[in-house]
Structure formats: C-alpha cells, structure tokens
Homo-oligomer: 189 residues x 2
C-alpha cells in the first residue's frame, strides 16, 4: 500500500515514519470548523475525516491510503485550539498551569478496496497534568515561538511543562502510533 499523510506537521511526519516506511505529504487545505455541542472524541474524528477525505479526493491520491489527524486540548470541557497571538498563548498556558487536561487526537484513514474507498476513523485521549508554571516561565516559553502553531499553546516535547501523563505520549504530540497500528491492522492494509 502506498501512503499519503494529509498533514504539514513535522511531528506527525516523524511519528508516521515509525509505522510506514515511505509516504508522500499532501497537507489538507480546508478550513478547520469546530462543531457546536459535539463530544471531543467525535469532534476530532470529524476533523480528521474532513482532512483525509479532502486529500483522498485528489487525482494523485487515487489507489493510495490517506491518513488525516487532528488534535485538540480540552480543559474543563472547553476546547483550546491554536493560540491567536502571544497574549492568547500566555492565557492558555496560565489556565493549564498546575492542572490536568485532556488531549484528543482523531485519526482517519481513507483507503482503496475492491469495493471502492473505505474509511476508518478513531480517536485516542491522554490526560496531561502540568507543572505549576510561573508567569516568567510562561513568558519565556511563549517567546520561543513554539506555542504558536500548537493546540493548547504547548508541545509536550518542549521540555519541563508537564508533571505527568496518563495514556499515549505520541497521542499528545499529534499522532497516536499505537492506535494507528491497530487501525491499520483492523483495515488489513
């Protein structure tokens, strides 16, 4: 099976590389529109499917498996997306400080079969507990620029933000490899 990753994220590229030897990258361009009132796991499955299906419909994706993924951070039932600006990043990090939140990543694989395209769509959740961060620490971290393209304004790989996690680490980074492995096996591709 030939593969396409429908994401521009260098972190997802690295993680998928652990599962699949070779793949092309064609980032989905569609707008990410969150839906009112959906449970977070369904929300990320929906967004992942939008991405995978958009890329799977391109001529150059015919006959290939396309993987889309989407990650959100949920604190007290509220979804934290990517920060709008540095102030927004500081606000998010302050709200996460010293507390436990959930990270959801949805994964969707659209793949060709003899009966036409099929699709498998799942989600994983990891609980993440932050260290108590000082305002100075937060300002210094935001100044690195790393928070700006990340849901919840942080990357778990960025250092000393996180006290503990419960669940998959790769899920927090943006692609749950254990789940992806099970999905690939289930789909038989």
């Amino acid at each position: 099976m030939e593969w396409i990753l429908a994401s521009a994220s260098p972190r997802r590229k690295e993680l998928l590389g652990a599962l699949v030897k070779q793949f092309d990258i064609i980032p989905a361009k569609g707008e990410e529109i969150l839906c009112t009132g959906l449970a977070p796991d369904e929300q990320v499955r929906l967004l992942a499917k939008n991405k995978a299906q958009e890329v799977a419909s391109l001529p150059q994706a015919q006959g290939k498996a396309v993987l889309g993924a989407d990650t959100i951070v949920v604190l007290d039932g509220e979804i934290l997306g990517k920060p709008k600006d540095e102030r927004d990043a500081e606000r998010m990090l302050l709200s996460l400080s010293g507390r436990t939140h959930e990270v959801y990543t949805g994964v969707c694989i659209v793949y060709p079969t003899e009966d036409g395209k099929k699709c498998i769509c799942e989600a994983d959740c990891t609980k993440v507990t932050f260290e108590t961060l000082s305002k100075a620490q937060i300002k210094a971290y935001v100044a690195t620029g790393s928070p700006m393209d990340k849901a919840g304004a942080y990357g778990i790989q960025d250092g000393n933000l996180v006290r503990s996690i419960e669940g998959s680490m790769s899920n927090v980074i943006g692609l749950p490899i254990e789940l992806c492995e099970r999905m690939i096996r289930k789909a038989g591709i």
Copy 2:
C-alpha cells in the same frame, strides 16, 4: 441569513422550504465514504458535515448558511445504503419486510459569524416498522424505479410499505424539520 442546500434531493428541497423562505441549491459532489465501526448517529453527522463543508468552501457560499444532510437505514446494526441494482433493492426490501428498523438523518449547518465560520451538527433517529410484503409487491414496487435513489430502497411517501413509525416522519423522508428548527434557533441564525 441567505441559505444554500447542499443536496440534490427534491424531498429535502421541499422539506427545507417549510423552514426557510428562499435558498439556493448546490449539491455536494464528494464521494460518500462510510467509516468502519462508528455508531450510526455519528456516521450521519460525519457525512452531513462533509457535504456542508465542501459546499461552504466554495466562493459563491461565502457569507451564507449551508445545510448538508445524510440519511441511512440500519437493520440489525447493518447499514443499508442506496441499492446497487434492482436485485439489491429486492433483497433490501425483503429483509425489511415485517420488521422494525431505524432511520438516521444527520444534519450539519455551516454558518458565518463575526469570529469566522461555525458549524452545528446533529442527528435524529426514527423507528420504522414495515408491513409484511409479498415478493410480488416488492417486484412491483422495484419496477416503479423509485427505490433506486433511496437509502434502504424505499421512500416512506411511496405508499403502503410501512405499518407504523416512532419518531419524526420528515427524518425518514430525509430532513428532520423539527430538529433543523431547533438547530437554527440554537445557532441563532
């Protein structure tokens, strides 16, 4: 608010007309790809969102509300789509005869706000109990051609197939108007 219906179905057009005075029709063209292992209500929300979002991304949809919908028929946990051919339609109708099944319609509305596009996505379920149909009745109904473009190979408006329903009738036809009304109110559009 100006509206677009992202469906070519004349039945949905008629039903939406009861709620919204005027709207354009731009059918979504994307492939309908069912996902393995999802609950039926999530399945139809996903498909409805794919349709609404595809059309909402077109230049001529900017600033308008776009409604997408998808209907599936579920018997014993198995999804019955549109029949492939007349034999498939006969097989579906025979399996529905004398029994109760569920009809799910998902509705997704993508709409503009000051903070960008938002979306609301819900689903309704109706239980439908069929009359016991003879093979001759089934053959005669399939010969009318009506089953061929309908999930589960029947239209509830087509006559004497159904003994009773529990839930919304418009949901079975393809657009649950009571649910749509609540969604429009919730979104404040």
